[in-house]
């Protein structure tokens, strides 16, 4: 009998708000966090739009802290502090506290700035903080140091599935008895000329530059790519017994995870969605549930022409006719795609959806792609009372498939 894992804290900073409450209310209102990039370099590039954090972390964090951290680390720290406070900042044996914070790409903007310094001013002017600013495990390490966590600090990396993989890894630490509490999530902040050029070269980005707020439109026939976002999401996972013993508020229950790989292509989804459907079924099975129990899916739904179809095929393959009674949403329509942060913020959205019994809408879905047969919410949709469960899908370049299940009790 593995130990049960519950969610006792949540924190985030996103293009919709600097915390969970403001992001969630903007999401339910169908608000877009996407805007035009005002820097000159965009004029050389096909994509001019992105979702910047609504509250810049440098406005929240101490000045000395920020100068030693990459922007992705700053976002993770902001989200982790909110999550930890939300969990009641438990006094605990720190040997039993872990952190698992993922990133898809790491401190790329710090690397590029340092490269400019190297070229312009020489090696002697490189910051002694550069290495810890660019290492992918930096966000996990910074959060771990902040809290004094000593059960382990980990950083799974699986591109846009990283945030979800981090949560599954954290839950496993608790289930296996390595930790009682794990602070887990994902972060990303790589909106800059080089990364945008790279994703644009893959033809992965939307170029709906004249109307940024409608550019991310999952499931719509006119979708033309994803919109890059930045930010972080962090949850506090805890064994139920530990949470109960200290009287913590339980926001939701971690059900289980399914992790597979496509074995198909480095960047294209398997058109038959085989890896993704196996991940979904594995997550449902890990949660001790059946497809009929899933009332809601927070889909990966990046708004790319191929990706949304492949995920639909996977959902249908996994759930069969039970997909008819599942309300699907694509929240990237409002937040943009936070890459390594996506699975984390969307896990929090899934937990909030179950807690508040309301599915946030998919914005900008005006003409449903006729090839996609799913019940997609275009306005907030109520969920039934009683015991319910929901799924969060995340997929990443490299062929990573991660599905997480959360439950109401």
């Amino acid at each position: 009998m593995t130990r049960e894992v519950v969610v006792t804290g949540m924190g985030m900073t996103t293009p919709l708000g600097g915390d969970v409450a403001s992001t969630w209310s903007a999401l339910l209102a169908g608000t877009s966090g996407i805007s035009t990039i005002t820097e000159e370099w965009v004029l050389e590039q096909p994509c001019h739009i992105a979702g910047f954090m609504a509250v810049d972390p440098t406005e929240v964090l101490d000045r000395v802290e920020t100068r030693r951290m990459d922007r992705s680390q700053q976002a993770a720290l902001v989200a982790a502090r909110e999550a930890w406070a939300d969990a009641g900042a438990p006094e605990m044996d720190l040997d039993r506290l872990g952190t698992v914070i993922a990133t898809g790409i790491g401190g790329v903007t710090s690397l590029l700035n340092a490269h400019d310094t190297l070229r312009e001013r020489g090696a002697s002017r490189i910051s002694p903080h550069l290495v810890t600013m660019i290492m992918p495990n930096g966000p996990a390490a910074i959060v771990g140091l902040e809290l004094g966590a000593r059960a382990g600090v980990h950083t799974p990396v699986s591109a846009c599935a990283s945030g979800a993989e981090a949560i599954s890894y954290a839950a496993r630490m608790i289930q296996e008895g390595r930790a009682d509490v794990v602070v887990a999530g994902g972060t990303e902040a790589v909106i800059c000329d080089l990364t945008m050029a790279g994703f644009a070269a893959m033809r992965a980005l939307s170029t709906r530059n004249d109307d940024p707020q409608t550019a991310s439109r999952p499931y719509d026939v006119d979708r033309d790519g994803f919109v890059m976002g930045e930010g972080a999401g962090v949850v506090v996972l805890e064994s139920r017994e530990h949470a109960k013993a200290r009287g913590a508020t339980i926001h939701g229950v971690y059900g289980g995870a399914g992790l597979t790989s496509d074995g198909h292509h480095i960047a294209q989804p398997d058109p038959e969605g085989r890896g993704a459907s196996r991940a979904i079924l594995a997550a449902i099975s890990d949660a001790g549930l059946t497809p009929a129990d899933i009332v809601h899916i927070n889909a990966h739904a990046t708004s790319t022409p191929q990706g949304d179809i492949a995920e639909f095929v996977a959902i249908r393959a996994a759930l069969g006719s039970d997909a008819d009674s599942t309300v699907v949403t694509g929240t990237k329509s409002m937040t943009g795609h936070l890459l390594g942060g996506a699975g984390a913020i969307e896990s929090i959205f899934t937990i909030l959806t179950i807690r508040d019994r309301v599915v946030p809408p998919t914005a900008n879905l005006t003409n449903m792609d006729p090839a996609i047969d799913l019940d997609v919410a275009t306005s907030p949709r109520p969920l039934p009372a009683g015991d319910i469960a929901a799924l969060n899908n995340s997929f990443g370049f490299g062929g990573h498939d991660v599905a997480l299940v959360f439950r109401s009790n």
């Binding site: 101490d62 000395v64 100068r67 002697s124 002017r125 910051s127 002694p128 903080h129």
Partner: protein, 79 residues
Amino acid sequence: MSQQDILEGLAAIVNEVAGVPVEDVQLDKAFVDDLDIDSLSMVEVVMAAEDKWGVKIPDEEVKNLRTVGDAVTFISANS
């Protein structure tokens, strides 16, 4: 450049790099023991001082700069 000017400039650098209040940066204070400047922050202090006063502070010299006063004396003598 008076010693007082250098002290004030150094205090501003230490404040920028490590958040130590300017008024705490006094000649008799040790960087590590009193001001809690770790080795990485010390590298930043040295870099900023080199830029500000056009001095070269070699690594083998940095270990002799135990106190703020040691640094002020070195910069004063070499700038």
